[in-house]
Symmetry: C2
Subunit: 198 residues, 2 copies
């Protein structure tokens, strides 16, 4: 039996994604786990604290995926490993992906000053800067055609996020293997236009 604290986090994530912040209920979490609702308060101060921990965990896990790709030896390798890390995170931790990148505009902000939506925004920006850095060094190494690295990064991120979010929203009937193939082919199609002319 894993730690109750962790199981609460997992269950809260599911409820949050099903019905939004208002759909996450301490009682329901408790029922799902076979404990009373009040037991949760020994592990999390209140509902807001629980929700913040869900989002914080998502951000932490995503960071660990992306960070690993920095071990690549060349700009190309770091770029490609970064892309794979992003894909792996999306497929292995799809629910965390939804929390970080697919929440509707106001979703959960609630104006309560909890400050976590701000952390999510910061996370997105840091992720984007990571991509810009990879693109920049690939332009210097000649792997990508020289251009505005920021603008090219936007194109790449848009394409990547678009693929992943449409897949996670189940708007394509594809299994995971099929999606991995689509992801690679589509990315290759895009990158083909971004590399130096032969």
């Amino acid at each position: 039996m894993t730690d109750l604290r962790e199981r609460i986090l997992e269950c809260a994530l599911d409820l949050y994604l099903e019905d939004g912040p208002k759909g996450l209920s301490m009682r329901h979490v408790g029922e799902s786990l076979g404990v009373s609702a009040t037991a949760i308060y020994r592990h999390y101060r209140n509902k807001e604290d629980l929700l913040n921990n869900v989002m914080g965990e998502a951000v932490k896990v995503f960071g660990s995926y992306l960070f690993a790709s920095l071990s690549g030896k060349t700009p190309e390798e770091r770029f490609n490993r970064g892309g794979e890390a992003y894909l792996n995170f999306a497929l292995e931790k799809g629910k965390y992906y939804e929390v970080i990148f697919m929440a509707p505009s106001q979703f959960g902000a609630a104006g309560d000053g909890s400050g976590l939506p701000e952390a999510l925004r910061a996370q997105s920006m840091a992720t984007f800067q990571f991509l810009v850095d990879r693109v920049q060094e690939c332009m210097e190494s000649g792997y990508l055609r020289k251009a505005d690295a920021q603008a090219v990064s936007m194109t790449i991120w848009a394409h990547t996020h678009g693929l992943v979010s449409i897949y996670l929203a189940k708007k394509w009937s594809l299994d995971e293997a099929g999606f991995r193939r689509l992801f690679r082919e589509s990315t290759e199609r895009l990158m083909h236009g971004l590399r130096p002319a032969p």
Copy 2:
């Protein structure tokens, strides 16, 4: 003073996007509009009916945007007008865009057999087929390089949806004019790699 029925729909849309299906409350809608909650039941059977009407309206409006682009005389024109229609819909009816294309995986399905999430899925598929048709005829006319029209369409939709959804989630600090420019430039960058070699 516009029709109360319409104002209810608008208000319900806002509440839905802020807090999800559970965050939409008849009482709150009523308060926002200065009427009692029960007044709403003269216009909508119940909460589910109200929510279904919100989504149905979104789908209807989107269809009207897209349909207009069919008036183009050539494949290129229909393709480009379709892209503009999509962008205009996203910018002029951003909240409807979120309802149709940005709802998290389970959001609102609720297993209640209401059948509307199914209609949304159908709408996405119809939209995608519309794009495939445009791409197909552009390949035949020579505007696009011949290739698997379905696969190329996925790349294009992913890029387009990615741009729009990141913008609507306010993950880029851009005003509308800036985003329109970004959209055009980024699309041009992508299309450049999809057109026949000179």
